[in-house]
């Protein structure tokens, strides 16, 4: 008979400082992308573009070739290798049947997706052509490159229809308006984004981005455009003659590419700082972040955000597919199964189908609470064993906060010395490794520092008997604590610097407030005088 008066209060996990990352809808949505598949290309992947129609292949421009990949099986379907130099900016036409690519040999080549040989070769640029895009009317293409010129070509005749020489430096990006046939937008290293109208052959709008422009985007409505350059994205209102609407700066290196998601509600930006950030178009706040292993040069998103393809500077191509929606029923089955497994623990589960008669007194079977191992030992006041139970790998690796809570409970019970003492080589090294791994964790540090001190106290008396491997661990612990101490000093210095900046800044603000107030006062005075 061991019913207890009050429930045994189990060890609560040690509260960990810091707010959990928010699990917003966006978070979950973009988490739905699977682990990336990476493919090695022959050179830096400068451009990726999805075919707008089925079968939704994507073209990858890397080194001297353009390769078509099938997103279903991630295998290359076709390679266009008739380039004499590095190929740039391969993009599909709206109907998905033609593909155009620029080349470092200053020629623009037009391919049939099914063919191999270029259908047309547009000659006229004098330097490498970086940007090639189809115009909205499907009969023209525009190209731009390092010769500072933007040209519009007629596909049937291979002739130049328009030539714009307004840019002062390399043109590295451009796009066409989706709803207007004759609007072309280009960004250049001369820090400007220019909008050209083929009807008037003129530059209709110039905005200055402030640094070399690496990518431009235009909303489908054509009223707002985005430019990326340096580590910031700028949003411009076209209808108001290029008024700056917002500046977004979340990358710390140059942003190389910008894309809309499939329904233009999110913007994706890739940067040399190896992150892809996703913004909400309504607020221009970052809603999600995806990390990559190398500087990102290009990215594109497939129809319905099914696939995200990112090309990197170390000539790697990363493909992430969206997870298939898991059928819920299966999951429920699994849950049932696991429950059944758990039930097998209890010895007797008979009488499940029994229906009680009316008037029967029903006494519910009390399920015994399953305690964790360390709790069981704590209940029995076996503190040494409780500590051992908290230091088994699946506890201290997966849930270090539990192990720390056990330490704290031992301190509270004044039995930590007894529990720590007399450990063998194996257990002691596990304990020390745990300390080494977690002592720098800011939430655990106050408890673990005490524990480390006690461990050193206890085992320093008989340090001769301690094996060499454990002594090495002790030394590592000492080094880590030393390093942490130095880091803390540095951090405090930094904090001091920040404090001075913040306080001087706030003083400035105050001063400006005061100035404004005096101005207001001086303004109001004459009015009141007039009134009187």
């Amino acid at each position: 008979m061991s019913t207890s008066a009050s429930r045994f209060k189990v060890i609560e996990p040690f509260p960990v400082a810091g707010v959990d990352p928010k699990h917003t809808e966006d978070h979950q949505y973009w988490r739905g992308l699977q682990f990336p598949i990476t493919i090695k290309e022959f050179g830096a992947v400068t451009n990726v573009a999805f075919q707008p129609t089925k079968p939704n292949f994507f073209a990858v421009s890397a080194s001297t070739r353009v390769i078509l990949y099938n997103p279903e099986n991630n295998e290359s379907v076709k390679t266009f290798s008739r380039f004499h130099d590095v190929a740039y900016g391969a993009t599909f036409r709206r109907d998905g049947r033609l593909l155009v690519a620029g080349n470092a040999d200053a020629k623009v080549r037009l391919f049939d997706v099914d063919g191999r040989v270029p259908l047309r070769i547009f000659k006229g640029h004098t330097r490498p052509v970086r940007v090639t895009k189809f115009c909205n009317n499907m009969k023209e293409i525009f190209s731009a490159g390092d010769d500072n010129s933007v040209r519009v070509w007629d596909i049937p005749t291979e002739k130049v229809l328009h030539k714009f020489d307004h840019h002062q430096d390399y043109v590295r990006c451009g796009c066409v308006s989706r709803n207007a046939d004759n609007i072309i937008l280009t960004g250049s290293y001369d820090h400007t984004v220019r909008m050209f109208d083929t009807r008037s052959d003129e530059c209709t709008m110039i905005v200055n981005h402030g640094c070399p422009v690496e990518s431009v985007l235009m909303y489908p409505s054509g009223s707002i455009l985005l430019s990326a350059g340096g580590n910031r994205i700028k949003v411009w209102d076209v209808l108001q003659g290029g008024r700056l609407l917002a500046t977004v700066s979340h990358h710390h290196k140059t942003i190389t590419c910008l894309r809309f998601n499939h329904d233009c509600t999110r913007i994706l930006s890739g940067s040399l700082d190896r992150h892809v950030k996703i913004y909400d178009v309504a607020t221009y706040n970052v809603v999600h972040n995806i990390d990559y292993s190398a500087p990102i040069l290009s990215l594109d998103v497939a129809h319905e955000d099914k696939t995200l393809v990112v090309g990197m500077a170390d000539s790697m191509l990363s493909i992430r597919h969206r997870k298939q929606a898991v059928i819920k029923e299966q999951k429920e089955d699994e849950v049932l199964l696991s429950r059944r497994k758990r039930r097998q623990r209890s010895h007797f589960m008979g009488g499940q189908t029994f229906v009680p008669n009316q008037g029967d007194v029903i006494i519910h079977h009390k399920h015994k609470e399953q305690l964790e191992k360390y709790d069981v030992y704590f209940r029995k006041f076996e503190h040494g064993k409780a500590l051992d139970a908290a230091l088994i790998p699946q506890v201290h690796m997966n849930t270090p906060e539990i192990t720390v809570a056990v330490f704290e409970e031992l301190i509270r019970r004044d039995t930590i010395h007894a529990a720590l003492a007399g450990k063998g080589e194996k257990k002691l090294s596990v304990l020390l490794k745990f300390l080494i791994r977690n002592i720098t964790n800011i939430s655990f540090a106050p408890v673990l520092m005490d524990v480390a001190e006690m461990v050193v106290d206890i085992y320093s008396q008989a340090i001769e008997d301690v094996p060499v491997s454990v002594i090495n661990l002790f030394q590592r612990l000492r080094d880590i604590i030393r390093r942490e101490g130095k880091l803390q000093i540095e951090m405090h210095k930094l904090l001091g610097c920040m404090d001075t900046i913040v306080s001087s800044n706030s003083q400035n603000i105050k001063q400006s407030d005061v100035d404004e107030a005096t101005i207001n006062a001086s303004n109001t005075d004459p009015v009141s005088l007039k009134k009187s």
Partner: protein
């Protein structure tokens, strides 16, 4: 006025300090509680009767040897009183004129009882004859049995059918047939030198055998006790610490023992049963006559009723146990109308002072009770240092608690709780670990205007916490001033201004506009606590240093008044009226309003006040307590309040007023139906009150432009205030009232004068009965009526 007030105990005190006993039918549990004996119903858990009559601590109770329904009680006031506990009637008193530490009686020796008298340095066990008629001191025939009885006698003396045992730390005296035995007729057993000291003793109910508990946790069973040389004792050992209580079951087949471990152990012939984790050290065990129930008294001032299957049947919680100094003081919770203070270790106690009822103990710290290995070095406990209640915003009420292990200087946690309406309980929302780096929190205040909370610490930081929907409570501002310790914080009544006491300076800031601190008031001495005035004194800030009470006008930034008070202990503020009260270390109380330097009321208290609280109440006769009553908690954890002297008797008759809530039986149903008839007349008065309230509310709720003219309304209104029971009379009175206002008409009614005087008296009585709540607004109404008449 000042002289007529007196301080009266309304509740509190320890119910586990002295042994409690079961009634013979196991339906009631009787326990000494301060100057009272409380009778609890085992079935319902309510206090069913209070036996009030002793003027000092009741030390022990025992059953009357002859009469089943009577008990004897001994007290430090030197009397033994005989009670009928079911009816709560004091039957007789024997006065010994010496403080009595204990009383013993046994049904086997019907004419005698035994008392322990306290003399200067030793206690003595006396036998006296128990008469049926009330006896005076001279009649009591006392005969000395044993000298130098140990102080904690109730556990160390035991009586059974044939013998009595008195134990000292290392020897035992056995008296065979104690009703006749003389002082010399005793058998002495001496323990060996190295034997542990005896801590408690219990006699077998039938056999010649008894059990002793020892300081090292041993339990010894002694047989063959009449033989000096060949006494046999067997040793059982389970407890690791001192055995605090020991009892034979009434059949004698089992022994129950308890100690510091908080585990109840039942010793059977060859096995043991355990009931672990009772929550605190077990100080006493009582067994009912049929051995089906055990009452286990715990050190945390609660009694558990345990069945013989070792399940808990009932819990009686007392007020906070003695020995705590109530670090979080007393707070008023408007949700439950309860006072909130430290309860059991790590718990908050919700207590209704006006009814002396413990609502519940809320577990804040959530730790298991662990007894320390060494009693000399007790384990440090995490205490609740501060508690605060926020207002209700968006239908949610919040509470914040601050806990800290002061001895170990760790485990500092700030917890925010939310009252869940669906579950009707407090739900933990946010835990903040070491919010002030263990630097000693000094105050915790909620803003009355929004979901914000301020905590201040000795380290000189005031942190302001705001509630966020997703992340819970976050610190948004941290204020400090010249590294001075921040001693207190207070919000003005509308929540617009936060005042912080940094050392000797008070700073103000507006937390809603995120502004910098501004406007300082400073004083030469360190300010201990500050409060904004309420209602008409909103612009005044009262601050207490250790020697002075200061009042500033915040609008003009000037000192309003200051007053020198010797050694201020603490200052409290009533949130429902302008009153504030200050307590000194020499137990003086001054009640004052910030607008007036002169206190309304001052008193030299006879008790050591550890905490005090204003609790809203509407039916207090004392003028300055019109809106809320002041309750005081003494060092002995008894709850007191002020009473007009005439009321003292009423309060002492409180027991009569308690509604009997015993189990319902057919017989009790019948009895209650007969009682109801008599009660009806009383009830009708109550009904009257409610109807008056309804009409009042009706008139108040109706917009004034819809109401008929004042002149037509006034009559009805005034008559609605009166009791309608003798309807013709009340009309008469109202007429008379009108007449009173006109001298001419009064002259005509000269004949009636004598009759009217009687009526007037009656009227006054009735008006007293009617609630005198918010009738101030009626005055202009009446005035207008008068004017109309005079026109």
């Amino acid at each position: 006025m000042k002289e007529s007030l007196q301080i009266v105990q309304t509740g509190g005190s320890s119910i586990t300090k002295f042994n409690s006993i079961f009634s013979h039918d196991s339906k009631y549990l009787l326990c000494p509680c301060g100057n009272l004996v409380k009778v609890f119903s085992v079935a319902t858990g309510e206090c069913f009767q209070r036996l009030n009559g002793h003027c000092k601590l009741v030390t022990m109770i025992c059953h009357h040897p002859r009469v089943q329904l009577q008990i004897l009680s001994s007290s430090l006031d030197g009397t033994v009183k005989v009670w009928d506990y079911e009816d709560g009637i004091l039957l007789s008193t024997c006065d010994f004129n010496v403080p009595l530490l204990g009383i013993f009686a046994h049904s086997c020796y019907s004419t005698v009882a035994f008392v322990i008298q306290q003399s200067d340095d030793s206690n003595e066990l006396y036998r006296f004859t128990l008469n049926t008629i009330p006896s005076k001191t001279s009649d009591i025939a006392c005969s000395l049995l044993a000298k130098n009885v140990v102080k904690d006698c109730s556990k160390r003396i035991a009586f059974s059918e044939k013998f009595a045992v008195v134990s000292y730390s290392n020897r035992l005296l056995v008296f065979i047939n104690p009703q006749h035995a003389e002082r010399d007729e005793k058998i002495r057993h001496v323990l060996k030198d190295n034997a542990p000291a005896i801590t408690c003793i219990s006699c077998h109910p039938v056999e010649e055998c008894f059990a002793t508990g020892h300081a090292n946790g041993e339990i010894r069973i002694w047989f063959n006790i009449s033989d000096v040389k060949n006494v046999i004792s067997s040793i059982q050992h389970w407890h690791s610490l001192e055995v605090l209580s020991l009892k034979f079951s009434s059949s004698g087949s089992t022994v129950l023992s308890g100690g510091h471990e908080g585990v109840l152990v039942q010793w059977l012939e060859d096995s043991k049963n355990f009931l672990p984790r009772l929550g605190s050290a077990i100080t006493n065990v009582a067994v009912s006559k049929d051995s089906t129930l055990f009452a286990v008294s715990l050190l945390d001032n609660s009694i558990l009723i345990i069945t013989n299957y070792f399940t808990i049947k009932q819990t009686f919680d007392g007020f906070t146990a003695i020995g705590q100094n109530l670090p979080c003081g007393i707070c008023y919770d408007s949700n439950t109308n309860a006072c909130v203070t430290n309860g059991k270790p790590g718990h908050l106690l919700f207590y209704l002072p006006d009814k002396d009822i413990q609502l519940y103990n809320l577990d804040i710290v959530s730790r298991n009770f662990i007894s320390s290995v060494d009693l000399e070095k007790p384990l440090s406990k995490t205490n609740i240092l501060k508690v605060g209640f926020g207002g209700t915003f968006d239908g949610v009420k919040h509470m914040a608690t601050m806990e800290f292990d002061q001895a170990k200087q760790r485990d500092e946690k700030l917890k925010f709780w939310r009252f869940s309406d669906t579950d009707q309980q407090w739900v933990l929302e946010t835990i903040v670990k070491s919010p002030h780096d263990g630097c000693g929190i000094t105050s915790l205040t909620f803003s009355p205007a929004n979901n914000a909370c301020v905590t201040t610490s000795q380290a000189g930081f005031a942190k302001i916490w705001f509630k966020h929907d997703e992340e819970g409570w976050l610190c948004e501002m941290s204020l400090s001033f010249r590294d001075l310790p921040c001693n207190d914080s207070t919000f003005s009544e509308d929540g617009s201004v936060l005042a912080l006491a940094f050392g000797h300076t008070v700073c103000f800031c507006d937390i809603s506009n995120n502004e910098e601190m501004q406007l300082m008031l400073s004083h030469s001495e360190s300010i201990k606590s500050i409060f904004f005035g309420r209602q008409s004194c909103q612009h005044l800030l009262v601050a207490a240093t250790s020697e002075e009470l200061l009042c500033w006008n915040v609008m003009t930034k000037s000192m309003y008044w200051s007053s020198h008070i010797h050694k201020i202990n603490f200052l409290i503020c009533d949130i429902h009226s302008e009153n504030m009260a200050v307590f000194t270390n020499s137990n003086k109380i001054f009640v004052f309003q910030p607008s007036d330097k002169q206190p309304h009321y001052s008193h030299n208290l006879s008790i050591d006040v550890t905490a005090a609280c204003f609790v809203p109440s509407k039916n207090c006769d004392i003028a300055w307590q019109a809106k809320s009553e002041l309750y005081l908690v003494s060092k002995e954890m008894s709850v007191h309040k002020f009473c007009v002297k005439s009321e003292v008797d009423d309060a002492s008759n409180l027991s009569r007023m308690i509604i009997k809530s015993d189990q319902v039986t057919p017989m009790s149903n019948y009895l209650s139906s007969t009682q109801q008839k008599t009660a009806k007349t009383v009830n009708s008065n109550r009904l009257q009150e409610t109807t008056v309230d309804d009409t009042l509310r009706y008139i108040l709720d109706t917009p004034c432009h819809v109401l008929p003219s004042m002149s037509t309304l006034c009559d009805q209104f005034i008559s609605s205030l009166l009791l309608q029971q003798p309807s013709d009379q009340s009309e008469d009175i109202s007429k008379h009232n009108k007449n009173d206002n006109f001298e001419e008409t009064e002259a005509k009614n000269d004949k009636k004068a004598s009759k009217d005087e009687d009526l007037l008296e009656e009227l006054e009585k009735r008006v007293e009965q009617v609630k005198v709540e918010d009738f101030e607004w009626i005055q202009p109404l009446c005035k207008r009526k008068l004017e109309e008449f005079s026109c």
